[in-house]
Amino acid sequence: MALFEARGLHKRFGDRVVLESIDLAFQAGTLTGIMGPNGAGKTTCFHCMTGFHRPSRGRILLDGEDIGALKPHEIVARGVARSFQAISLFDADTVLDNVVVALPQVRERAADAWGDLARDSEAQDRAAAVLARVGLAGRERAKAKDLAYGERRALEIALALASGPRILFLDEPTSGLGPDGTARLAELVAELKRSLTLVVIEHDMRFLFGLADTIAVIHWGQVIAGGTPQALRDNPWVARSALAEVAC
């Protein structure tokens, strides 16, 4: 059984159908890439799978449990984390504080209105370990808003990692990064792949084809092709499309 599944996923906004009968399955320990042109419905699909939007129809299953009607914080508590296309952080806080608040041991005690969080050195050390994992060791004191763009991307991934996910959704993580930044991110994602199930929306085909175990192509709100990178390269539709240049 797949760790995470979307079955017959529909999403409409008013009379506009954005997703139609999307079926996706993500096996534990794999990296699945999602690609497609702008406006294809990739991010809406992510939004539905992570609780940002409620699907109009269809089921979202995590380990067999239907999470389609749950609120985002309930979905996060079950081990689903995500990043956003536009980097989303707590900008006025330090790098360390950004990660500390995302730790399960901190958020699960969010009703504690008395104890001083700054005295929780165990949480701080855990956060520092997460920061080291994404390459931000030594940057604890900096404000999130003062980080360079690539560091902000890394911090957003650190926030997601700190929440203790079983599956991590990354929405266009290379967006805005140069070649060096993309290469570093590829190293990081390859490292994460060893311990996590990953789903990545990406326009950078070299990045995606180099890392993904399977890839799904979404267009016009539907999954129009899918399989291993090699299978996609052999797919005649892909061979005829603009994707062929990088995929093949």
């Binding site: 806080d93 360390l96 958020r107 009703a111 008395w114 520092a128 604890e140 560091e151 060096d180």
Partner: protein
């Protein structure tokens, strides 16, 4: 550029945030200044009741800033809860029990209940919609206070409320004099400020700060945002109700004017002028500044609010961090010169 990832062994943070002081120094200063007010206020040409009024508005502003400054939730009809607390205090005293503790507890409970009802309707909103809904609910409460004559006394309000003694069983303190009332309100203020201090630095407070900065991100690191917004609104309403009860006690009456939109705006101005958006202590500065401006400027001109309004506009335009921000800048400049 994205940083190079390193291995993550048993890492210790290279920097840690400074824990909050267990007893903050500004609170000690506040208690010292207001605690001695009955002696020094007459010496500078002011009257002891002013100390009571400043302390009551400080309680109100501190609670309100948990919402506006700390959680980023713009409640512009908050006078409703101040008034509900005042009426709760007065009605229970007149009709149920003439006991200070019961009357104060009733005021807090009634304001908390009213806050919970309003919060249930608005906590899924944010920004301008949130603000407009709070104004609407505030106006409803004000209208009810004016029109429900048989209960609230209409525009006259509830008159002849008593300053009941603070009875601890083994000893009772008479609170009829302004000097005694200052001491009582000061203890209440110190407790509220200390409570707010703990909340702001707690896990709960940090979660609220996350909601203020980025509600979507807070939701997607696992915080129940609706519940957080609901609960802090109830807490702030309770504190407003408590302040309203102290105000009714000080004024020996409860009247609908304190629930008006105009009065609700005053606490917003106090918090913003004081610098509540950037400093925990800003609301205290703002409340003192407002009441002192009212009395000192008011002694010279009836249009004192016009001049205060100009100060407010100037601060919003040129120093949105308020008086606390100005103080912070001056302190930084002084430290730089000293270095």
């Amino acid at each position: 550029m994205i940083p190079a990832a390193t291995a993550a062994p048993g890492v210790a943070a290279t920097w840690r945030p400074t824990p909050a002081a267990r007893v903050p120094v500004p609170l000690v200063v506040l208690v010292a200044v207001l605690g001695t007010a009955p002696w020094w206020l007459p010496a500078v040409g002011l009257y002891p009741y002013l100390g009571v009024e400043i302390a009551v508005w400080m309680v109100y502003a501190m609670g309100y800033n948990l919402l506006l400054g700390h959680s980023g939730l713009p409640s512009f009809g908050h006078g409703a809860f101040f008034g509900i607390g005042a009426y709760g205090f007065g009605l229970v005293q007149k009709h149920l029990a003439a006991n200070l503790w019961i009357d104060l507890a009733a005021a807090v409970l009634v304001a908390a209940l009213a806050g919970a009802i309003v919060a249930a309707f608005i906590s899924h909103r944010r920004g301008i919609y949130y603000a407009l809904l709070t104004i609407a609910f505030g106006q409803v409460a004000w209208f009810v206070a004016i029109k429900w004559h048989s209960v609230t006394g209409g525009e006259d309000g509830l008159l002849n409320l008593k300053r009941l003694p603070a009875d601890f069983g083994f000893v009772a303190f008479d609170l009829k004099s302004n000097e005694a009332l200052i001491a009582f309100v000061l203890v209440a203020l110190a407790l509220v400020v200390f409570g707010c201090w703990r909340i702001v630095h707690s896990r709960y407070g940090r979660a609220l700060a996350c909601v203020r900065q980025n509600e979507t991100r807070a939701r997607f690191v696992g915080y129940p945002v609706w519940r957080l917004k609901f609960s802090i609104f109830v807490v702030a309403s309770s504190i407003a109700g408590f302040a309203g009860a102290l105000f009714a006690m000080a004024q020996q009456s409860a009247y609908p004017n304190v629930m008006s939109l105009h009065q609700s705006g005053l606490v917003v101005m106090m918090v913003l002028v004081g610098g509540g958006l950037v400093s925990f202590w800003g609301p205290l500065v703002g409340a003192a500044f407002f009441i002192l401006a009212r009395d000192l400027l008011g002694a010279y001109t009836e249009t004192w609010l016009f001049w205060y309004g100009l100060v407010f506009m100037a601060l919003v335009l040129f120093k949105p961090e308020g008086l606390a921000g100005i103080g912070r800048d001056l302190a930084a400049r002084w430290r730089a010169r000293k270095a």
